[in-house]
Amino acid sequence: MSPTMFDRYLRAFSETLTMVSISVAISIFIGLVLAVTLVATAPGGLYPRPRFNKAVSVVVNVFRAIPFIILLVALLPFTRLIVGTTLGTWAAIVPLSIHLIAFYTRIAQVSLNEVDHGLIEAAHAMGFRRWHIVRHVMLPEALPGIVGGMTVCVIAMINSSAMAGAVGAGGLGDLAIRYGYERYETEVLFQIIVILVALVTTVQFGGEWLSRRVDHRR
């Protein structure tokens, strides 16, 4: 492999890493906030606000329904507003994050809903404030699922980021398309596939390990 080609790989790899890590960080934070909001404001929840809950849920569904590549284009004006440009890695991070927020919200929501109602009831009986129930009961008890969901998210993000080449964000997927698809350099395509498989496998195993670490249910 020529030094220039190696540089291209390195650059693509770091672009992918940047896109994935930043959008995952943003979407996990916001997704978790939204998930807690949805669970807490649901009918019978800690702060029941059925109408507000419905509205948030509909918005999340809208973003869940739109395929990423379409979202990418549809969000261009918004992206320009936020990062000042519609090209490059940062321009991809905006639609990637929004796409993933909706996805992660639902994953985290399921984990939070699975927390045994008896625990919440016990906390009420012990005189916990509602916020303390979220902080000390719901979040820690849902943690294994929340962490497991993160793994799924990182992997989904590695996939979606391959399409971010469309806005010139670079990354491994973009490299594969430009060399492998457009120039018929199947060797590049193959090598990138190997790198992606290695990356996804590492994330998967790392995520599973972390999930086990925080899971004390057995």
Binding site: G118, A122, M126, G127, R129, H136, P140, E141, H216, R217
Partner: protein
């Protein structure tokens, strides 16, 4: 001595129903209709004595949990009032209700321990969220671990504990705010007999040592017999009866109560039942009698002399006597030669305490 067996329903209120002044918790016409129209409680009124162990029994769906959970407002009644120390708990502000709940510990059938926290963290959390300083939390948790005998398990996660140990953690956690009332909803239902016995001993111990009022629900009549002072029987959202355990168990008035208590009673064994005839056989034979002691007139015990006086060759076939709150009560099934019965039995036993179940041709 003859009066020993008399089931005279003399109404002597030895332990009077809790007067409002000494009642810790008072239910005043409490009714509950769940959203969807299920009527769980039909306006019940009663008092729970301070410092006692109060049992609630009833069939599944009778409204026991609804009743218990009205004390700490986990379930809000739709009618009536629940007074704790004279305060209507439904009218407390959120902050005051929180304070009240810290004075009322609760333990659950499925323990409801946090899986993500160690035993120590589980017990200490209620204090931590109440803003108690860490050193004080630690001191208090150590004391409670010692009380429930789990000092060596402080740093393990609940998943690694047996059911009995989990319930001990539940009890320690419930006691962490030094409550005045402890609510137990089927706290021993998920435990094996040995763990049940040890948890009951612990509850009794806590009740005696700390003087807190214990209110418990159970499906196990033996639990009531073992540790309760008073028992309330619910059926279909209504109170069937209420009173000292020995009285309700010795002489149950309601059908629901009798049905619930039947596992404790020594009924007629099936093999014997199959051999019974309604009339005495022509050549003598034996009468099978059921004797019932309610513990009312001679609570201190059942005189053997009186049993022997039935007939020299009377036989004890089946039965048992339990001492509940110092009152000996139970059932005995005996066989007596018909000839002896005619002369002796009628004179010695009142019709209430003795029933002729039937006759057998030969000795049993």
């Amino acid at each position: 001595m003859v009066r020993e067996f008399a089931a005279v329903p003399a109404v002597v209120d030895e332990i009077p129903e809790a007067a409002p002044a000494e009642a810790h918790v008072v239910f005043d016409g409490v009714g509950k209709t769940y959203a969807g129209g299920v009527r769980a409680l039909n306006g019940v009124s009663f008092g729970i004595r301070r410092g006692g162990v109060f049992g609630i029994i009833g069939r599944s769906g009778a409204g026991k949990s609804t009743l218990l959970r009205a004390i700490n407002m986990l379930e809000r009644p739709t009618e009536g009032r629940v007074l704790v120390d004279g305060v209507d708990v439904a009218r407390l502000s959120e902050a005051d209700l929180m304070r009240l709940r810290r004075r009322i510990g609760m333990i659950f059938q499925h323990f409801n321990l946090l899986a993500a926290k160690t035993v120590r963290e589980n017990i200490g959390l209620p204090l931590k969220v109440a803003g108690v300083p860490a050193a004080e939390v630690r001191r208090r948790v150590e004391a409670l671990l010692d009380l429930v005998g789990l000092s060596d398990k402080a740093d393990v996660y609940p998943a690694k504990l047996s059911g009995g140990q989990k319930q001990r953690v539940g009890i320690a956690r419930a006691l962490v705010h030094d409550p005045e009332i402890l609510l137990c909803d089927e706290a021993t239902s998920a435990l094996d007999p040995e763990s049940t016995a040890s948890i009951l001993a612990l509850l009794r111990d806590i009740n005696a040592k700390l003087g807190l009022t214990v209110v418990l629900i159970t499906h196990d009549m033996a639990v009531i017999r073992a540790i309760c002072d008073e028992v309330l029987v619910l059926d279909g959202g209504d109170i069937v009866e209420q009173g000292p355990v020995w009285k309700v168990f010795g002489d149950p008035k309601g059908n629901a109560t009798r049905a619930l208590l039947s596992p404790l009673r020594h009924g007629l064994p099936a093999d014997l039942a199959a051999r019974l005839q309604p009339e005495p056989p022509p050549h003598g034979g034996h009468a099978v009698l059921a004797l019932r002691f309610t513990g009312e007139s001679h609570p201190d015990g059942v005189s053997l002399a009186n049993l022997l006086a039935l007939a020299p060759d009377a036989k004890l076939l089946h039965g048992g006597v339990d001492r509940i709150q110092g009152h000996a009560q139970g059932d005995l099934i005996v066989s007596v030669p018909v000839a002896a019965m005619r002369s002796a039995v009628g004179a010695r036993f009142s019709p209430d305490s003795l029933k002729v179940l039937g006759y057998v041709a030969h000795d049993v």
